[in-house]
Amino acid sequence: MKFPKLFKPFLVSAALAIGLAGCSGSNENAKSDEKTAAPEKAESQEVNIYTARHYEADEAIYEKFTEETGIKVNVVKGEAEELIERLKREGESTQADLFVTVDGGVLAHAKQNDIFQPVTSETIDKNVPENLRDADNNWIGLATRARVIAYSKERVSPEELSTYEDLTNEKWKGRLLVRSSTSLYNQSLLASFIELNGEAEAEKWAQGMVNNFARQPDGGDRDQAKAIAAGTGDVAIMNTYYVGLLANSEDPEEVKVAENLGVFFPNQETTGTHVNISGIGLTKHSKNKENATKLIEYVTSVEAQEFLSANNYEYPVNPEAKKADLLESWGEFKMQELNFDTLGEHNKKAIEIFNKTGWK
């Protein structure tokens, strides 16, 4: 009969599918064979990370860690919320030992989703001050960036600047630059105001900001600095990290932009400057807990922290570590003091306020 002929394409596709599965399957098998053969050994050799921080400095630090300890570091990079969702769905089966991300709000969100377990290590407690760790040690601070006011050195004198709230003043009308409210950095900033000043004040602030916009939000943080140079506006809310990137750019034009940019730390007399914190946490179902703890100890050590600051223009969390020269030149500043959990709680409200006030 025609039966076999009829099924030829089916067989071909099936063979292909099996072949494909076989290819990747065999790798997996090889890996798991190793695991079953020497489970103890495998545990002391690996640590698996899900990270939303995509920086080369991070990778370099992981490499150094491997050199020093012989523990191999495996990495999956992705967007924070996607990785949290993945961890949630993987549940007990997950291979991930550590979760790393930028922004306190996201870290709080991860904690709420119960993907972490507390880390216990005297070294870590010594490396990182309490205000830069989760209250329950669910995550540990890795580095911070300040969200500051950048201003044109030509057209603005620092005496005119004081607080975030002051930016809603009539005198800044048509002179203010800031990126879109889709940015996590803006969401966390507003969430911190909801916590510190209450919802009504926060909404008033957002409305005042929108009223003073020099233009509709456009582009990223760097673009705000360039708009100051181009004369579109005079003051911008920006992350110190991006000022660092601009000042160290390969493009001399960008370096010039950074040179004409002043950096002002607002709210020094009042609530303190807002910082974004990056953090690392031990996953609830980690299979290599010991290695993971070692890695956290290493990344918060003076050596790793100084490397991170020098190469990625972030503030170290370890008070013993030296800051990058550029950051040093801006001096010390007072940080906002708040429980990072509240940032996660208020993030949704912050977005609602942005939408209501028309902050695009």
Partner: protein, 547 residues
């Protein structure tokens, strides 16, 4: 119906082609059903907030973007396809292929490149400022807002329309156009009265691809601060931490897209497009004087804006950052990208051919099948990713006893930590790209060769290999290139579904671009572009040798 009749009908219809199509449809449907299942759940308060403040505005922006981009890409793609197919002018052969190159530049890279180039530190402003001390305001040309997005989408997506329409015109419209020419019609009349109506399936097919791309875009729209349904999906998930409302939005987006499909079907009103004449290449008419210069200028300017200028700019930036960024690990990146894209592309093409073949028989089933197979293209990548992830993790849990008996440990994640998951993600997302190309190919062939072959006693499968496959070659080539290039550029799926320590060129590009390091991003971007060009050239050479 008597059981006997049913059995006979089943025997008539049910063959392995049908079964494979069905399996493909199930693979695609599972994650999509998972997304749609959110519609059944009670909406939460976030959903009401979204409806109150966002939806109206977002829907308007989305419609505006889709409409403007659709009209402009159709205009640009069809006019270029017509000029290149029907006329001969200086450098025509070069433009024939060159006008496909814009596809190789990911739209978000194009947007970054043009923004930076025209911006304050860009080459134009800084040269004028430093050399001539002249401050110029380019705000009028700034790539921002809806106009910026439409510009980027049009200039870098029109090749979809161009490619499919040109392939159609070159081989299928010859006798109609020649007859019209013989009868003394002016070129304009021929274009509007003959070419446009004939090429409609090709034009619509290409434009629909563009529209899908726009609907699913996040990179360009978020950079330019335009709020669309797609950005709302991201904001709901990443900002309000509400995956369910995000999937709900995605489900509604798909409903809209199905609406578009049915509208098109309705507007066609069952007209069929079978070309019954022998397919014979269209001989281009030689243009002289001003007309030749005009055609050359038109193609030249489009090529300049949509490829050469951003390409040269990227090279300049790559030179600037080469020492800092380049190392040998890029070679491994290229290998991984090629390996992965090729596997996924071949898989997609095999299924495209099978399904398109089954779908030739007009029936409610085949219509539904073709819509299911192509529906993934309209869903934003991250949403597909969540659907695929959910299905794969439950499959791993389901297979846990088997894994255990194989000695792989308690409840390990085997499938969801392998590349298969990513390949399936690509399969769902890009089935439409391959399928549309093949479907147009089948529409061109019509059914008479197949019918003749079947009458002469060959089975479905033999007919396919002996008769249809050689005729489909052109469609296969364009399907391969389109899909391969798409997968090389793809980002959100690769980002979420890849196994440990796996990077592609696109994820590397993103790593820099996301951090506003566009200069550093230029090197991996150029590698993606180079890979796309290479695939284009290889396929073209293969295609020519076969002739």
């Amino acid at each position: 119906m008597k059981p006997g009749v049913i059995k006979r009908n089943l025997k008539k219809e049910l063959n392995s082609w049908w079964i494979i199509s069905f399996i493909g449809a199930v693979v695609i449907l599972l994650p999509i059903l998972f997304i749609f299942s959110t519609l059944l759940q009670e909406p939460n308060e976030n959903w009401f907030h979204i409806r109150q403040y966002l939806l109206g505005n977002y829907v308007i922006n989305t419609i505006l973007l889709v409409l403007l981009t659709g009209v402009f890409t159709a205009f640009l793609g069809v006019s270029l396809a017509w000029i290149v197919a029907a006329y001969d002018f200086p450098l025509r052969k070069f433009f024939r292929l060159g006008l496909l190159l814009p596809l190789s530049i990911p739209t978000f890279i194009a947007a970054y490149t043009y923004r930076t180039m025209l911006g304050y530190t860009g080459v134009i402003q800084s040269t004028l400022r430093n050399q001539y001390d002249y401050q110029i305001n380019l705000d009028l040309f700034a790539i921002s807002g809806i106009k910026g997005a439409v510009f980027i989408f049009t200039m870098f997506l029109f090749p979809y329309v161009y490619m499919i329409t040109k392939a159609f015109l070159e081989s299928q419209s010859t006798s109609y156009i020649e007859n019209a020419r013989l009868l003394g019609q002016k070129p304009i009349t021929i274009f509007f009265k003959v070419v446009l109506p004939l090429a409609r399936p090709a034009i619509v097919g290409g434009t629909v691809l563009v529209i899908f791309e726009v609907l699913g875009d996040y990179g360009v729209t978020s950079l330019l601060g335009i709020h669309t349904i797609s950005t709302a999906i991201f904001q709901t998930w990443f900002g309000m931490y509400d995956v369910n409302s995000a999937m709900r939005l995605a489900a509604w987006l798909m409903v809209i897209i199905m609406g578009i499909f049915f509208l098109e079907k309705f507007l066609r009103q069952g007209r069929r497009y079978h070309m019954s004449n022998k397919s014979r290449p269209l001989v281009p008419v030689k243009l002289k004087g001003m007309k030749a210069i005009g055609a050359f200028m038109y193609c030249g300017i489009v090529f300049l804006i949509s490829f050469l200028i951003p390409f040269i700019q990227l090279i300049a930036w790559a030179k600037m950052t080469f020492g800092k960024v380049w190392d040998l690990s890029f070679i491994a990146l290229i290998n991984q990208t090629v390996y992965l894209s090729a596997i996924a592309t071949i898989l997609i093409l095999i299924f495209s051919v099978i399904v398109a073949n089954v779908c030739r028989k007009q029936s409610a089933f085949s219509f539904a099948l073709s819509k299911v197979m192509t529906s993934g293209y309209s869903i934003p990548g991250p949403i597909i990713a969540i659907g695929v992830l959910a299905i794969f993790i439950s499959m791993d849990q389901w297979l846990a006893p088997l894994y255990k008996s194989m000695g792989l440990g308690e409840a390990p994640l085997i499938l969801s930590l392998s590349l298969i998951m990513l390949v399936v993600g690509y399969f769902i997302r890009f089935m439409a790209t391959g399928f549309n190309a093949i479907e147009v190919g089948y529409e061109k062939i019509g059914t008479k060769y197949t019918e003749a072959s079947r009458m002469l006693g060959l089975g479905v499968t033999k007919t396919f290999f002996k008769v249809e496959l050689p005729l489909l070659k052109g469609a296969l080539i364009s399907g391969f290139v389109l899909t391969f290039v798409e997968i090389c550029k793809e980002l959100p799926l690769a980002l979420l579904l890849r196994p440990f320590n796996f990077e592609t060129l696109a994820t590397k590009t993103y790593q820099y671009a996301n951090d506003e390091q566009i200069y550093e991003a230029s090197i991996p971007s150029l590698l993606i572009i180079g890979l796309s060009i290479l695939s284009l050239v290889i396929i073209q050479v293969l295609g020519r040798r076969g002739k």
